[in-house]
C-alpha cells in the first residue's frame, strides 16, 4: 500500500445529463447462457439505453440438479458427495458446513486433531477458491496473465488435497463425525512449505493485477453497493465486507477452533474508489488469503497427535429428531445447511442456503445505472459459482 488513495467520487449528475441528452431506444442484450464472464450457464438480460444500463434480469436454473430433493432420498453419509458439487471451488467448506449441521443433530463434537485438520483444510480451500476468483476476475476485465500465476499456486494446493484425500476438486473428505482419514506422514510439513511459498508469491498478484492501472480504472467506483443495501439483501462474505460491514462468521459465530486463532477480519475501506465498489471486493479477497495463511500457521503450531474422528459416528447415521441450522463462512459468504430429521436414516429436509444465490440476487439492482462494459466487471466481482446458485 505505498501509493495514497487518489480518488474522486463519480459525478453522477453530469454523466446522467450527457447520457440523457442523446436518449436512444432501449436495447435488450442477452448476456449468456454461454458467456465467459458469467462463470457458468447464467443468462442475464440487460436493457441498455445507449451505453448505460437501465435494467437487468437474471435467469438461472440451467444447472439445477435437485440437490435438496436428493437429500431427502439418500442417507446422511450418502448425501455428503453431493455437497461437494454446489460450489465446486470450495468443496471442503461445503462438506464442513453439512458435517457440522449433522453433528449438531447428533450432539457429537469431533476430537481436537480433527477440528484442527478441518480448519487447516477449510482455510487452504479458501485460498484455492480466492485464487480462482481473483484470477478469473482478471480475465473478465481483460488481464489474462495473472490467471496463470494464480493457477500455479492453486496447483500446489490441489496436490496437497490429492495427498490427503485423493481428489483434486470434489473432495468428500470432511464427513459427519470427523474426517475420512488422518493426514499422511509429512503432509503438515508440506502445508508449512506452501505457506512460505505463498507469502513470497502473494506480492506478485498484488503488483501484477490489483495495483495495475487498468485494473484500478476498471474496478474503482464501479458497481458501488452501500452497506445498507448489502445488509438488506442478505449479502455475505466478501460482498458484505467489501461494502464496509465488519462481519465474519469465523469471528462472530466462532466454530471449530477459530476462537483460538488470531486473525483480522478484512473490511473494504474504499482504498481506490468509493467504499463498496468492485475494487474493494477484490481487495478483501486478496488480503483474506494472507489472513488464511496466518491461520493455517497457527493451526500447524497448535495441532497435536490424536484421533481425528468421533468413535460413535459410523457410516450409518441416525440422528435424534430435530432440526439444525449451521452457517459457516465459505469463501463466497455464509453457506448454511438446515437439516430436519425425524429420527430415521434419511433426512426430512436438506436445505442449502447458498451464498452465491443471494449475492447474485443483488446484482440485478446494482447493474442499472452502470455502463454496459462494466456489467462483466460487476458480475465477476460478485464471484458467483453457478453450481451453487442453481444447486
Amino acid at each position: 500500500m505505498e501509493e495514497p488513495p487518489q480518488t474522486t467520487p463519480p459525478d453522477q449528475h453530469r454523466l446522467r445529463e450527457i447520457e440523457l441528452d442523446v436518449r436512444t431506444q432501449d436495447v435488450e442484450i442477452n448476456m449468456g447462457p454461454q458467456h465467459p464472464a458469467t462463470h457458468g450457464v447464467l443468462r442475464v438480460l440487460l436493457r441498455a439505453d445507449g451505453e448505460i444500463l437501465v435494467g437487468a434480469e437474471s435467469h438461472l436454473g440451467y444447472l439445477h440438479r435437485c440437490a435438496e430433493k436428493i437429500g431427502e432420498n439418500v442417507d446422511y453419509i450418502q448425501y455428503m458427495p453431493y455437497t461437494d458439487r454446489y460450489d465446486y471451488l470450495s468443496s471442503m467448506n461445503n462438506n464442513l458446513s453439512y458435517s457440522l449441521a449433522v453433528e449438531k443433530l447428533l450432539g457429537v463434537e469431533v476430537p481436537k486433531r480433527g477440528q484442527y485438520l478441518r480448519t487447516i483444510l477449510a482455510e487452504l480451500n479458501r485460498i484455492a477458491s480466492h485464487l480462482v476468483a481473483v484470477g478469473t476476475y482478471g480475465i473478465d476485465i481483460g488481464a489474462f496473465t495473472p490467471f496463470f500465476y494464480a493457477l500455479r499456486e492453486r496447483e500446489f494446493l490441489l496436490d496437497l488435497f490429492e495427498k490427503i484425500c485423493g481428489a483434486r476438486l470434489t473432495y468428500s473428505y470432511i464427513r459427519p463425525g470427523g474426517v475420512m482419514n488422518d493426514a499422511p506422514a509429512g503432509w503438515l510439513n508440506k502445508v508449512a512449505e506452501f505457506c512460505d511459498i505463498f507469502d513470497q508469491k502473494w506480492p506478485e498478484y498484488w503488483n501484477l493485477l490489483v495495483q495495475n492501472k487498468i485494473f484500478i480504472e476498471r474496478t474503482a467506483n464501479v458497481g458501488v453497493m452501500p452497506a445498507q443495501t448489502a445488509i438488506d439483501w442478505g449479502c455475505t462474505g466478501p460482498m458484505l465486507r467489501g461494502s464496509g460491514v465488519d462481519w465474519d462468521l469465523r469471528r462472530d459465530q466462532p466454530y471449530l477452533v477459530y476462537d483460538q486463532l488470531d486473525f483480522k477480519v478484512i473490511v473494504g475501506e474504499g482504498y481506490r474508489g468509493t467504499l463498496g465498489d468492485c475494487f474493494d471486493r477484490n481487495f478483501v479477497r486478496m488480503y483474506e488469503m494472507l489472513e488464511s495463511i496466518k491461520m493455517v500457521r497457527q493451526c500447524l503450531a497448535a495441532i497435536e497427535e490424536g484421533e481425528v474422528s468421533h468413535p460413535d459416528v459410523s457410516l450409518t447415521i441416525r440422528p435424534a429428531p430435530g432440526e439444525a441450522y449451521v452457517g459457516i463462512e465459505n469463501p463466497r459468504g455464509e453457506l448454511g445447511h438446515y437439516v430436519v430429521s425425524d429420527g430415521t436414516k434419511i433426512a426430512k429436509r436438506m436445505r442449502c442456503r447458498a451464498p452465491s444465490f443471494v449475492n447474485l440476487s443483488v446484482v440485478e439492482h446494482t447493474l442499472p445505472g452502470c455502463m454496459l462494459a462494466d456489467a462483466a466487471a460487476i458480475i465477476g466481482a460478485t464471484d458467483i459459482v453457478i453450481g451453487e446458485t442453481d444447486r
Binding site: Q78, T145, C165, N212, V224
Partner: protein, 185 residues
C-alpha cells in the same frame, strides 16, 4: 435502486499523471513476467508426459475378485446405485456373471470402499476415461467371468467329497437297516 455511475477517472486527473502511473504499473507487471522468462515451465505436455497420481488417489476402481463374496455392501453404500453385481453360488465358490460399475454415474466418492467386509474393492490410480462411445463407460470390473479351472477343480473336489460323504452315510444307513432287519428276523 440507482447506484453511482462511474466516470472515467482520467477526466478529472492530470493527463501526465495518468500516463506516468500507467507506464509505471505496466513496467512493474512486465518486470514480474520478465523474471519468469528464463525459468523452467510449470506445465507438462499432457498426453506425452503424465503427472504421477498420489497413493490415496481416487481413480478407476479395481476389484480383488478372488476375495469378493458378492455381498452387495458396496452397491448399497453407493449414493447413485452405479454398482451392479451378479454371481451364482456353488457351495463356497462363486460363479461370476457381472460386476458392473457405471462410470457415467460414478462420482468417485470412495463410499463403496469403506463398508466392504473383505476389503476387496479399491480406488485405483487410473483417471483418463476418455471415450467416443458412452456404452464403454459401463465397465466390467471382473478379471474373469464364470468359473476358473482352479475353481472347477475345487468344486469337483468338494462335490466328490460330498458324494463320498453321502455314499458313506447311505452305506451306514443301509448297514444299520440290514442289522435291524436281521435282529427282527
Amino acid at each position: 435502486m440507482a447506484t453511482p455511475t462511474s466516470l472515467p477517472e482520467t477526466a478529472r486527473r492530470s493527463y501526465w499523471g495518468n500516463v506516468w502511473s500507467t507506464i509505471k504499473s505496466t513496467a512493474v507487471g512486465m518486470g514480474i513476467t520478465f523474471r519468469y522468462l528464463w525459468s523452467k515451465p510449470f506445465t507438462v505436455q499432457y498426453p506425452d508426459e503424465k503427472l504421477t497420481t498420489d497413493e490415496r488417489y481416487r481413480g478407476i476402481h479395481y476389484l480383488e475378485q478372488d476375495l469378493c463374496i458378492c455381498c452387495n455392501a458396496c452397491a448399497k453404500a453407493c449414493p447413485i446405485d452405479c454398482i451392479e453385481m451378479e454371481a451364482t453360488r456353488h457351495g463356497k465358490e462363486l460363479e461370476w456373471h457381472q460386476f458392473d460399475l457405471d462410470y457415467q454415474k460414478c462420482m468417485f466418492c470412495e463410499l463403496c470402499v469403506y463398508p466392504c467386509p473383505k476389503d476387496c474393492i479399491h480406488m485405483g490410480k487410473e483417471y483418463a476415461l476418455v471415450t467416443e462411445d458412452r456404452g464403454t463407460l459401463n465397465m466390467d470390473l471382473l478379471t474373469w467371468q464364470g468359473l476358473t479351472e482352479e475353481q472347477k477343480v475345487r468344486i469337483a473336489e468338494a462335490e466328490a467329497k460330498k458324494a463320498a460323504k453321502k455314499a458313506a452315510k447311505e452305506a451306514a444307513a443301509k448297514k444299520k437297516a440290514e442289522q435291524e432287519n436281521r435282529e427282527e428276523a
